[in-house]
Structures are given as C-alpha cells and as structure tokens.
Amino acid sequence: MTHPTQDLGAYLIAALSRDEEQAVTEHLAECELCGALLLELAETLPALAQVDAAAQSDLARRAAGSGSDEVAARRPAAGRNRGSRWHRRQTTRLLGVLAAAAVVLAATVFGARALEAGGHGGSEARGVTPTSAAQAGNGSGLPSALTRTFAYTGDDEVSVTVTAASYGSEVNVHCSNHRVSPPPGSPANTAVFALWIVRTDGAVVQVSSWPTVYGDKLIPGAVNFSPQEMAKLELRDGNGALLSSEPA
C-alpha cells in the first residue's frame, strides 16, 4: 500500500484538490498508520486557532515581505534558543502518574528479560541499551546522514534516522515490536517514549514522543538545525528520565 503520508498536513487544512482529498479519505478508511499520523497533526489545530487576525496578517506579511532576509534574521533568536527556558525540560504535560506506573511496569517486565538475556548489567540498565553505533562524528556534531538503533531489551526496537535537509534535518523514528497487541494483563499503549536532541551549543530539544508501539510505526519529525549541530540523540521516558543515548 502506498501511503499518502506527506499529503496529510494539506488534507487536514483543506489545501488539497478535491480528487486528492477524496483519495486520502479513501485511504484513511483502511490505514491505521495514516489515521494515527493525521490525529497527531490535528493536535496543532487548537493552537493555530489562537492566532488572531492582526497576528495572522503580521505572519503573512513577514513571510511575503522578506522571504529570506527578515525571517532568516529572526531565525538565530528563535531557532538557536540558548535561553535557560529551553534547558528546562518541560515534561509535565506527559501522562504523569499513569505513564510513570506503566514505565515502571515495563521496566519490571522487560528488565527481567534483559537479565535473562545476559544483557548488560543489572537493574540500572532500565531495559534499554544502544546496540549499533553508526559512523563516528567528526569531532563536532553528527554525520549528515545516519541511522542509530536503540534496542529495547524487551520487545521494542527504536531506530532513529537523521538526514540533512534544506531546512535543517529530518528526524524519523522507526519503532517496531514483534507483538501486535499488548501482553496479557498489561495496559495498552500507556508507556511514553520521547526522542530528544542535545545540540552542540548545549540546548536540548524534544523532537517527538510516542506511546508504546505494537507492530511497526514510523514517527516522522523535523528540526531546523543540521545534523552537524547535534551532539547527541537521547531516548527518554514519559517523565523525561534518560533511557539511553547515542553516542552514550
């Protein structure tokens, strides 16, 4: 099945042609993956609706007026964010107690398995370990294209692909789990994972977050800085606790 993934944003805000729109609607009727991606995109709509008419025309004028200059001039302030605010890791919005309980449960279930597998040492391992190191960085930042895999010692595997793009970097997370449904007795989809990037200037940015995946899922993401500006990829749980990082 070909997924119209990149049409989903335009679909949501009514920017596709009739025919394209109809094709996406038909696809959504039978595709869980695209349906879930669409709902995630839809989470931005209440926020977009907060912008009043004056601010909207300001945005439009700025975009139109100086396609590169003024907007580019704003970019360092907005994108390079070295302020302490960015260092504060705002994780309170995540699912709180429930997620914490689920993560503990996951760590308990999967931690035992890690020991069985003779993995890597003890309960501090928290069930996650980086398994494949890709090309070494050249002293500053990550290579312009790389894939790193965080192998969850339970059932999940998380791999992150970073690719340089004209606007910065594409950061796609691929999760796979040999289970297609929750193990008996465990709550479905309650553990939350998040990918963070530590930049070479010390700023920390959350790129994406997702609940436990059963089967396969691609979680696309993007940031406005290059792979060379990334010092480290971090896999964290829903409470912001570090599970694993690459490089370690």
Partner: protein, 181 residues
C-alpha cells in the same frame, strides 16, 4: 473564501449549509471515525453537531478555508471529548496509538488568550522559515497547495512535504512549551 451568509445575515442558509457539508463533511467523518475508534454512529453525530455549531456561528467561516476546516476538526474533537466525559460508563475508545484528544485551549479571558497566542507565535517562530511559510500560506492565508506552490515558486510536492513536516515540528514545539495534554 466566498460569503456564505444567508439573507438574515447572521445564519447560514440551507444552500450554504449544504455547501459547508459538501466541502468538509467527508474529511470530518474520516477524522471522527478515527477518534471514536470506528464508531460510525457517534462519528456522524459529532460531525452533524459541529456543522450545526458552524451554522450558529458563521463568523468562524469568515476566515480561510484552511482555518475553517481547522475550527471544524477542533470542534468535532471537543464534542467527542465532552460526550465522553458526559458518559464515562461507556468511554470512547480513542485509537490506540494516540495518547488523547487535545481540547481546544480555554478562552477564559482576553489576557489568557493573548498569553496563549504568545506561546503559539513563539512556537511558530521556532520553526524553520520554509516550514512556517507553508503553514502561514495554506492555513492563515488560505491558499491551496497548488496556489502556494505557484506563489512560492516550488513544486506542489515540496509544499505538501513542508506542510506535513512543518505541522509535525509545530506539534513538537508546542509540546516543549507545555501546550496540549
């Protein structure tokens, strides 16, 4: 976007209502079915209710086509969440891979609204300029992908891709600022 006012001025007439349903109904249904975990009856009810609310508040339609749809999708979610809260005995089964529906932000006072707007503008400012521009052109200005591609001198596929990744990046930027959930 075209005027859709009825003769009375404040409410949409039947033809305008049908046009609104024809323009957004199928997409709203696809999203609502997803949000209810496949309950077509409840999805349909929520879509009808959202269209009626639009009919009662035609001022929300005096915006771009993109933001009209945004308002309708947000309203469908709001209706489903409220229905869910009203009868907790039969919870809505939200599709497994999505944490929860986000409520539209509360509008308790003008001050609150401006604070929220500041956060949203800050999140938009954190996007790369190409991502931000695609969102502004298609959502706020109300261009279609084809129009925006023409206006920006880009292939349509690039505009679509920027909208998709731009909205993804916006979602992450909002999350970092504590917005949603």
């Amino acid at each position: 976007m075209q005027e859709r006012r009825g003769e009375g001025g404040d409410r949409l007439d039947d033809a305008a209502m049908r046009a609104l349903a024809a323009e957004h109904g199928a997409v709203l249904r696809a999203i609502a079915v997803r949000l209810t975990g496949g309950d077509i009856g409840r999805a349909e009810d929520a879509v009808q209710e959202a269209l009626i609310r639009a009919w009662q508040h035609p001022e929300v339609l005096d915006t771009s086509r993109g933001s009209t749809r945004g308002w309708l999708v947000t309203t469908v979610r709001r209706i489903l969440v409220d229905a869910h809260r009203a009868r907790e005995a039969r919870p809505i089964v939200v599709t497994g891979s999505v944490p929860d529906v986000a409520d539209p932000l509360p509008r308790e006072s003008e001050v609150d609204r401006l604070l929220e707007q500041t956060v949203v503008l800050d999140a938009l400012a954190a996007l790369s300029p190409p991502h931000r521009e695609a969102i502004v052109q298609c959502y706020y200005v109300g261009r279609t992908v084809a129009d925006a591609a023409d206006h920006l001198g880009l292939p349509p596929g690039t505009v679509k891709s920027r909208l998709f990744y731009g909205l993804r990046a916006l979602r992450a930027a909002l999350a970092e600022r504590g917005v949603n959930q």
